[in-house]
Symmetry: C2
Subunit: 561 residues, 2 copies
């Protein structure tokens, strides 16, 4: 793998590829014509209700990672490359991935569909509007917000306290100026003034609901249960109290059907839904994963951030809602990230450093132990970067062997999973799938919410103690009073550290986790525990990616990374 002036960008690789018609991808995935709704030539929606009746047999491989670093570990790239390699090994495989959010694409990232020769394509379509799902979610959320403020304006029969509205309007955009705003100004004809703000669409509860719903009825039920705010006498008001769930579900009617695309190697991929991995659970939709399980023998999917956040939520939230528990979990690690957790600054990561690599394995070790807590044997995928030396890679593979964990180097960015770069990893995963697994949740439903948080903090993060702030304690009381103790918890914590301090790397222990507030998401069906600051509306950087984007007269795009 070499990166130089001649290295093509992800967009160039995507556009140079010869894609198969989406009808051909559907045929390979045994999706009948009746269930396929093409969106152009290379994208389609799949209607699960029109697929042949078949049990969900596909074994799920969940791709997660050690604690990420700002350098990026390439989890999506490994997900795509592994699936391609499994297909190359003769497996009937399908990918289930999140859809990218437009805001970060215009801001910093350029794209989020894998990289190099391990991408889902067409990348420019998937990264921009795709099939409009996020726009539909934005519209459903904002229709609700408009109905809430209209209700207050038209007499406020429900007695909603304008200071205690808990939903926000959303936009799929990085727009810091909308974080804190005052709306309803201009006098009695324009509305009722109140303090408000916009979140990015992927941070909305509607997005979380969308991704946890099993079907259209379940979607409607969950939307109905979203708490929109509180009355003057502190009673919660839901979407059902307003009667808005019908219009919201109608606006999401087509969006809930998973989107079919392909990898560069022609592997079918369902790319659908994309909730934040901090204040939500960070996985693609339940409907996509469940549909993939009906269509393929192996389903490769991904969870956001590191295993302490993404995988924990996949296993304790998503797998509680639907039958999608993984048969194997792949933990992506990189030599660079391990050296950083071993105490080396980002600027020095290029030089070989075996002692730092060794020191950093404490982080990977804890993630592997954590996966075993769920009764699943982990597989380590070492995602190869250009700066890795042979000695480092060999040392790391040997370390994994001593740990008793299956491991393989993956060179899928440069070679693509369609080439041999993913063969070792595919073989390792297939071996793991042959071993028995005994999946169990970390905690039972009936454990009170405070103890659920404490369980995650101690067993997964290594904390000695959990401290709840006064607002968090008031919410715990509300949870008890409203009979919501059965809900699972969704931890909002920095992904960079097991603690709530992003600068504490490695495998810290004995610390106190600070829970500053809780958010009760009655629609999504979980309680968010906020530790540290959580940004729900990102801003644009000084030099936004958007200013480098363009499109030629013939429609050829440029500037997507």
């Amino acid at each position: 793998m070499t990166v130089g002036a001649d290295t093509p960008s992800d967009l160039e690789i995507s556009r140079a590829a010869r894609l198969l018609p989406i009808t051909e991808i559907a045929r390979r995935a045994s999706i009948p014509d009746a269930a396929l709704e093409p969106y152009g030539r290379y994208k389609a929606k799949v209607d699960p209700a029109l697929l042949p009746e078949s049990p969900a047999r596909g074994r799920v491989v969940l791709v997660t990672a050690m604690s990420p670093t700002p350098a990026g570990e390439g989890k999506s790239t490994v997900t795509v490359g592994l699936a391609d390699a499994l297909q190359r090994a003769g497996e009937n495989v399908m990918i289930a991935l999140r859809e990218p959010s437009l805001g970060p694409v215009l801001g910093m990232k350029g794209g989020a569909t894998g990289g190099g020769y391990s991408q889902v394509v067409p990348m420019e379509d998937i990264n921009l509007h795709f099939t409009g799902d996020f726009h539909a979610i934005t519209a459903a959320n904002n229709a609700l917000a408009a109905l809430v403020d209209n209700h207050i304006f038209q007499g406020n029969q429900l007695g909603l306290d304008p200071r205690r509205i808990t939903i926000k309007r959303v936009m799929d955009m990085n727009d810091r100026a909308l974080r804190d705003i005052v709306i309803g100004l201009g006098g009695p004809a324009q509305g009722v003034p109140r303090q408000d703000g916009f979140d990015i669409t992927v941070a909305s509860e509607v997005m979380a609901v969308f991704c946890l719903a099993r079907n259209l009825s379940d979607l409607s039920d969950r939307l109905s249960r979203i708490t929109v705010g509180y009355t003057y006498d502190r009673r919660p008001v839901t979407v059902a109290d307003l009667g808005a769930q019908g219009a919201m579900t109608l606006l999401l009617r087509d969006a809930v059907k998973p989107n079919l695309v392909q990898t560069l190697a022609g592997t079918p991929a369902l790319v659908h839904g994309g909730p934040f991995a901090n204040i939500a659970h960070g996985c693609n939709s339940v409907i996509a994963t469940a549909t993939a399980r009906r269509l393929a023998g192996v389903v490769v999917t991904e969870a956001g951030f590191g295993a302490d956040l993404g995988a924990e939520k996949y296993l304790d939230i998503k797998a509680r809602v639907a039958d999608v528990a993984p048969a194997a979990v792949v933990v992506v690690a990189t030599v660079r990230a391990l050296k950083m957790h071993g105490g080396i600054p980002k600027s020095d990561l290029a030089a070989e450093n075996l002692p730092a690599l060794q020191a950093g394995t404490v982080n990977l070790h804890r993630h592997l132990e954590n996966i075993r807590r769920f009764g699943i044997n982990p597989v380590v995928a070492v995602n190869r970067f250009i700066t890795d030396t042979e000695a480092e890679l060999r040392w790391l593979i040997d370390w994994c062997a001593e740990e008793g964990v299956t491991a393989a180097v993956a060179d899928v960015w440069a070679q693509g999973g369609g080439g041999p770069g993913g063969d070792d990893l595919a073989a390792a995963v297939l071996r793991a799938l042959e071993q028995p697994s005994d999946f169990r949740f970390l905690y039972p439903d009936e454990l009170p919410v405070a103890e659920k948080i404490s369980t995650v903090a101690r067993e997964i993060y290594g904390a000695a103690d959990v401290e709840f702030s006064p607002p968090a304690r008031r919410r715990l009381q509300e949870i008890e009073e409203r009979g919501l103790e059965h809900l699972p918890v969704c931890m909002a914590k920095t992904p960079y550290s097991f603690t709530d301090d992003p600068t504490v790397l490695g495998a810290p222990a004995g610390f106190t986790l600070h829970v500053r507030d809780l958010i009760i998401k009655t629609g999504a069906g979980f309680v968010v525990a906020l530790t540290g600051a959580v940004m729900t509306m990102p801003g644009l950087p000084r030099n936004p990616a958007a200013l480098r984007m363009d499109v030629a007269a013939d429609g050829t795009p440029s500037g997507l990374i």
Copy 2:
């Protein structure tokens, strides 16, 4: 035509219809497979660049109306019914229509795709997200807004005055609480506070630009020229100064391709773009009309509001940008509207009243005269309503004959244009198309903007005088200084009256038109003259249509009217 408890709703009629696959509609319209991008089974985008080279030969029939009343005149219904009837008469016909805005659909209207048996379908798709064009326009506009505020936040190199930003964020929603807001609150890390507001998407200049662009390059050029605000020393700042046109055009790359659907009778229709008819020009996209002219012998299209606004703008703005001048203009009139202009209140319109009908013809008479000023012979379509008596209809047709204007009763709501209800109108239009027309603009480019406004006011509205407010006079000075006198004018006036007072019906004369301000739209390429209050962000009514909408577990929608 009878309306009763058993009368099916537009949604019921649409869903009961057996639609042809969109590939079959494309085949009938001679659209090759290569140029067709299906969006599901019954919608597709057409790429004009991939159509066979062919001159734009189709003769345009523009459907407009007398001054509308709150009762509704059924212009879209007549447009669809006329096209179906022309197809029935053996013509190779295509419709070009505006896309509905989601905001009013959720608010008051329920739908905007024709009515009864003269609809474009599938109505629930077209009325909800359709192919995502308005979402793309929203995203392009809001990306620009985020880039503007980010520019100010990141050091404001261009020296933009936060009090003089002229673009607003938009949402395709009726949300009165967003009309007047303050953004950028929360301290130095969150932005720079300023007074702002949201418009509905269809009121944005990006929408107007989208609908006037001839192709992707022209779109990029027009977007570049949009004025986003002024510097502290009052110099205009454009999208090109920020460098945002590339990303904006990229976000609109797919949206600019016209959308193909069908009528209930199987007539192909391009439904594309939908700017406001007050602060913009109120017609579907130039690209759709021009594409239809390449594909069909007759193109039936529509302009918003009455002929004084919609048709005047079609002829003086849209036809100046592209070769789309109509060969015939159909003026829709109703017995009910004529009686209302004859002085009868809405509650008494059901009773036969020939004197009121006669009195009301002054309104229709002026519209017919106005069309003749453009060198085109008008055709009157009397859109039949259930309360019309035979005597009233006969009297009106006779009156038209005395006026020397071709006229026909259209009964297309109840019968559909596929039945005989539109035959007379189709025959009348075909006769009009055989007559020579000699199209001319109302005013030349080189007339100064103030005199253009005066020309429209005197010749079309019947005003004696135009009064410019002090702010409007300052803008006239700016127009002169910036060298923009060549731009056409886009009048923002109440559609209900020839004056700027919506209560003055009939054919008033000798009045003064008050221009309270001008908006210079350098991207769209026109100057908006504001007369009276113009609402650019509607509100929801007390009982929003959204609260009656639902969708069944199998996806069947309800509550769209």
